[in-house]
Symmetry: C2
């Protein structure tokens, strides 16, 4: 069994980095706050007796050797970057649980066949550049230089932020793990939903991850004087956007499983007495079922085009990222359920509505995920919370699952 | 007759200050661009032989003495600040025409009974602080220190911006003109609408000015994870705002005369994968008829409250300014129409949908306005345009109107 006090104390200590007046946490990638969090995590890795290194995309890694140093590695991990004003568990739980199980193995002098590495991935959330899972893409070998041209709200590209932080954007290929060198990836995360809470369960085994589709809408109307342009003679980009925002809600709600969110919106020129001539906004659209998601996308885009035509404004849509839903490995699911049963926990299966680094790794290795219960299902919010006991249950299921995966078969 | 080349050349020259890459003009109050524009205008005033001074709120004034230096002054003028990415005629036309008619009087050695002053008012537009007509309020004596606490998007108050520019916010009372010291105020402006264009007329005489009402809406919902919060379990502040934005359009359009515009909107926290927990936006609502405007306001606020209640989000509204519509002086209207007839122009009357400095001065003195034709009715936009000939017609009508007002009666 892992040391639940140590895990909890590290969670609380790490949570003080990037804390806002609101109580929420803001740790954007390549920011001073994220760097400080990584320094703290590196110190935990050292305490746990791991060999600490960083790869070419800034993933922070702690390695514990196996009996066979050349055997494919078992990866565990998550991320320590956050959304704006987010919570304390989304990401850190998986990183610190990974460190905790290796710390426990060292204390118990357990020898595994396979080496095990715990990873704190670079920028899972995508909050800064509207482009996420940078570290896991790097390890999967799917990160390409064009993607480093995504910009933050100050116009800084990922490549520029990497350079400024001391990484070489032209060397990202070095982070890619060759096929056959990774045996499995397992991540422990908070559910960020209410399924486990409703079933009174601390831990669940994830069946698959919904694929996020991120679109950018740009509407061009005509700016004009707010006082002298009659209502029937306007091409107001914001009123058109308002119609599309309502359409998105309607179309997503229809399926019962899809979720659609407009999280960013800018209007131009932005004077109190000027009709908006241009509006840009983003859409985050998700479903476990790719066909359902893509049908909703089509309905939204078709409806938006019709609406913009009626209002004589122009619409342009752009795909920022389109990630396919990712099924979890049935082998890992079985081992995780076995671990639950051993610990006296009901082996509950559930899907993941949120995206996670694991979905980038499905081409590289079998992937699995464990969830623990989130209070009220709240996440990306200062009120995000999971109990100390649930964190410990999750880490213990992770421990047993990883021990099974790291054993010679 | 005024010198139309000189007027046009000054318009074009002044238009190069604050010019954006888009071709539009941004000259916010107390900015470097506005200061540069005022320096240029002061040089024109000096060329015209006027005595140049600034008052306590930063109004730039050029004075031409009358036969009787103690007689009430006839004021003409407008402003040189602009909205974001605005046009070249909104404001500068009135200031430069005022200078032009006084320049012409000096060249023709015309002596008037009353002194005449041309004013470039401080911050008519309100684009920077969401609070406008600062200079004309100062002259009217209605500007109060509380109003100087309005902030720009960087959090700088009007008082702070004044201090930084070298004005003393505690001395604003000194700008107030005592009752009886101003005989009349007349302003030449572009129409910013399509009435004159449709009637094939270069000049019109304004009957009254619609009063702008500026409201701020603050909606508080609940932030949450975009991937794991089901559509039926959200309190999305932006979707609620979208409903209100559509309601505003519907309610304003119903009357046939009201105009309603949402020109600014911010959402929080602003992550691409976070449900917006808070949205703030502004409403600019206008009508020539105060009762009609206030009824539309009531319908919008009541509808917005109902909508927010249905969506379980909280709504707060705040009045930023509530200006009553202002009728123009019938005496000035008659003199202006007489001037039109003398110049062979049809004396057309029309209302003003836009607010102007004159509405602040109605308690101080009789107020009148002249409009010239705007190409396609476009304003607050880089495409804002009036022809050289129309500018000259407007300045000539202003010239004759002011001569009549400055004559001993």
């Amino acid at each position: 069994m892992i040391n639940q006090d140590r895990l909890w104390n590290r969670l609380m200590e790490l949570g003080s980095i990037g804390k806002q007046a609101s109580g929420g946490i803001t740790r954007l990638s390549f920011s001073e706050e994220e760097r400080a969090a990584k320094r703290k995590v590196a110190s935990y890795m050292e305490e746990a007796g791991l060999t600490v290194y960083e790869d070419a995309v800034g993933n922070l890694i702690g390695r514990r050797e196996g009996r066979n140093q050349d055997a494919p590695v078992v990866l565990v991990g998550s991320h320590v970057d956050s959304v704006y004003n987010g919570g304390n568990f989304d990401g850190p739980l998986g990183v610190l649980s990974g460190i905790e199980i290796l710390h426990t193995m060292n204390e118990q002098e357990i020898v595994t066949e396979h080496p095990i590495e715990v990873v704190a991935f670079t920028d899972e959330e995508g909050a800064r550049f509207s482009f996420g899972m940078i570290g896991s893409r790097g390890i999967a070998g799917t990160l390409v230089r064009d993607q480093l041209q995504n910009k933050d709200q100050q116009g800084i590209t990922i490549a520029e932020a990497m350079s400024e932080a001391g990484y070489d954007p032209s060397a990202i290929g070095q982070a890619a793990r060759p096929k056959g060198t990774v045996k499995a990836y397992v991540e422990l995360h908070i559910e960020q939903g209410k399924i486990l809470e409703k079933r009174n369960a601390s831990v669940g085994v994830v069946t698959g991850i919904a694929g996020p589709l991120w679109l950018k809408f740009v509407i061009k109307g005509e700016a004009g004087h707010a006082g002298t342009t009659p209502m029937n003679d306007r091409n107001d980009a914001l009123v058109a956007a308002a119609g599309i925002i309502q359409l998105i809600e309607e179309e997503a709600a229809k399926t019962g499983s899809t979720v659609g969110t407009v999280g960013q919106l800018q209007l131009y020129p932005g004077g109190i007495n000027i009709i908006p001539g241009k509006v840009e906004f983003t859409l985050d659209l998700r479903d476990i079922d790719e066909a359902v998601r893509d049908k909703v996308e089509q309905r939204i885009v078709t409806g938006a085009e019709r609406l913009c035509e009626q209002r004589s404004v122009r619409l342009k849509t752009e795909v920022l990222q389109r990630v396919a839903p990712a099924p979890c490995s049935s082998v890992i699911q079985e081992k995780a359920k076995e671990a639950c049963v051993k610990l006296g926990l009901e082996p509950i299966s559930l899907p993941s509505g949120a995206g996670h680094d694991g979905m980038q790794l499905t081409e590289l290795c079998p992937m699995g995920m464990l969830f623990i219960r989130s209070k009220d299902g709240i996440s990306h919010n200062p009120a995000e919370w999971s109990s100390k006991e649930d964190c410990a249950d999750g880490a213990n299921v992770l421990y047993d699952t990883v021990l099974q995966l790291a054993t010679k078969e």
